[in-house]
């Protein structure tokens, strides 16, 4: 019962919007805004499953690898910098600078060094999305409860034990908040790098459809991209609700 209610809360707005779009666009003769029914038809025809295999899966592979690199680098680096205060203070200006520079601004230089293939795309996805994770991890490590740290010292926790049982769990809520932000950034960078880089991927698919004036096909790509973004976010929230069960219970 509770599940059904939650689902209803989650779904009502999208359902309303899609219905409005369906009705409003029915019979539309506009070249740029074809009827939603045509777009959905195209989605079914194209994306089950040829385009999924050819374009979507490679995209998911790139965002998956890039995002995982960002998580690992962000958490490991964040724990190190959080614990080694002098190192963090020395690097802080650089970090702030890099964070403030939009990742895609490095696209031209990344293409010079890494080409237009997967390496460049994955590198930029990871680079652009690592910052919120890194900075939130640093803050989470820093804000560990002093009484808990004394407790850990008095019970002779090893450094690894302190990291595993105090610092990381304390940082976890912030890390997940950072991951949600990072995932949104990663999606944007994935699309942009695919539009600019070597052919293939859903970003390239959308741009290529537009260039060949296949507007219905272009819209089908956009719809699929939206669905994928939503699904990725949902997957992350599922992981979070498992890992942070204590946190969600505690804070209602």
């Amino acid at each position: 019962m509770k599940r059904v209610k939650l689902l209803a809360i989650e779904a009502w707005l999208p359902i309303v919007l899609v219905t409005v779009w369906l009705v409003a666009s029915a019979g539309s003769g506009s070249l740029y805004f074809p009827p939603l029914a045509d777009i959905l038809h195209e989605v079914r025809e194209l994306w089950i499953f040829d385009a999924t295999r050819d374009d979507l899966l490679p995209s998911l592979g790139r965002i998956g690898v890039g995002f995982c690199i960002a998580v690992v680098v962000g958490v490991v680096g964040g724990v190190l910098l959080g614990l080694l205060r002098p190192l963090e203070e020395a690097l802080r200006p650089l970090l702030e600078f890099l964070r403030a520079t939009p990742g895609v601004a490095l696209l031209p230089i990344a293409t010079l060094f890494l080409g237009i293939g997967d390496e460049m795309k994955i590198f930029l996805i990871a680079l652009a999305s690592v910052w919120p994770i890194l900075l939130n991890t640093i803050d989470g490590v820093r804000s560990a409860e002093p009484v808990l740290l004394q407790m850990a010292r008095s019970y002779r926790f090893s450094t690894a034990g302190k990291i595993r049982f105090i610092y990381i769990p304390n940082a976890a809520p912030g890390v997940f908040a950072g991951c949600r932000l990072a995932l949104a950034i990663a999606t944007v960078v994935m699309v942009v790098t695919e539009m600019v880089g070597s052919p293939g991927g859903i970003g390239w698919f959308i741009l290529d459809s537009q260039r060949s004036f296949n507007i219905v096909q272009m819209w089908s790509g956009i719809v699929v991209l939206g669905l994928v973004g939503y699904a990725l976010n949902l997957a992350l929230r599922l992981v979070e609700s498992r890992v942070l069960a204590w946190h969600h219970m505690k804070n209602g």
Binding site: V147, Q150, M151, S154, Y155, R156, S158, G161, M249
Partner: protein
């Protein structure tokens, strides 16, 4: 569990010599001397802000003294030794909110080199002993203050220390829970033969629990009096506190804290 090796033969367990502590220019503790014998229950009583927490941190090696030294079993302390466990003043913040009580206790046993199974068994035994045997899976924030403090005590017991330091362990629970926890602590101490050093600002609590009360004066804090409490090992919230000896002991401690000289009557009683 693990009766202290020296239980039958009182000997010096903890020896504090000329302990001073300053934070910058602020002198908190001045040249404290203190001896705790094996198997003793020592209460250190002093007014709020006297530096009781500071003292316990020095005794446990969590904080380095400015001068003087702390010797446990003949070795000078620089970090908390394995034969010592601490129950912190702020119990709700000394438990990890992301772990169940059971895990809170088992994780604290990782430095003991016991295997996983043995750690689990010890943790369950200790939690059962403090009356939390049916609540192993609860998170700390799902428990009342009294239960959290029991969990913190269980964690110290499971560690099987020779000596437990407790920092105002019952200061923030209601009166009834407080009496229960006091009796629990006494019973555990008698049953396990461990040494307890408990810090409190509550004079009644100090006299009720202790074999010896160490009275601290105002800052810079020094030992102003040491009171032997001969009320026997078996104590009872009602009859012990009604004992005339109890009330004369507590007025002696009270005068010590106020900075008045002990009277002749105190000397006879003590």
């Amino acid at each position: 569990m693990n009766p202290s090796v020296n239980a039958g033969h009182p000997g010096v367990l903890l020896n504090v010599q000329g302990l001073s502590k300053k934070y910058g220019d602020r002198e908190i503790l001045r040249e404290l001397d203190l001896i705790v014998e094996s198997g003793e229950f020592v209460c250190i009583v002093g007014p709020s802000g006297a530096g009781k927490t500071t003292l316990l941190q020095c005794l446990s090696g969590l904080s380095a003294p400015t001068a003087g030294r702390v010797v446990l079993n003949g070795r000078e302390i620089h970090e908390t030794p394995p034969e010592m466990a601490i129950v912190f003043q702020d119990y709700s913040r000394s438990l990890m909110p992301w772990l169940s009580v059971l895990d809170n206790v088992t994780v604290a046993l990782r430095s003991t080199k016991l295997n996983k199974q043995a750690r689990h068994e010890r943790a369950v035994a200790a939690l059962t002993e403090v009356g939390l045997g049916d609540h192993l899976a609860l998170y700390p924030w799902q428990m009342s203050g009294g239960m959290q403090q029991r969990a913190a005590i269980a964690r110290a017991l499971a560690y099987q220390p020779e000596i437990v330091l407790m920092d105002e362990p019952f200061a923030s629970v209601d009166a009834q829970t407080r009496a229960d926890l006091e009796d629990l602590t006494l019973a555990l101490k008698n049953h396990l033969g461990i040494t307890v050093v408990l810090v409190t600002h509550d004079i009644d609590e100090a006299v009720y629990l202790a074999d010896r009360v160490v009275v601290l004066g105002n800052r810079p804090t020094q030992v102003v009096d040491i009171v032997e409490v001969e009320l026997g090992a078996q104590r009872d919230q009602i009859s012990t506190k009604a004992d005339p000896k109890f009330s004369s002991l507590r007025s002696r401690v009270y005068r010590g804290i106020r900075g008045e000289a002990p009277t002749a009557a105190d000397a006879v009683e003590g």
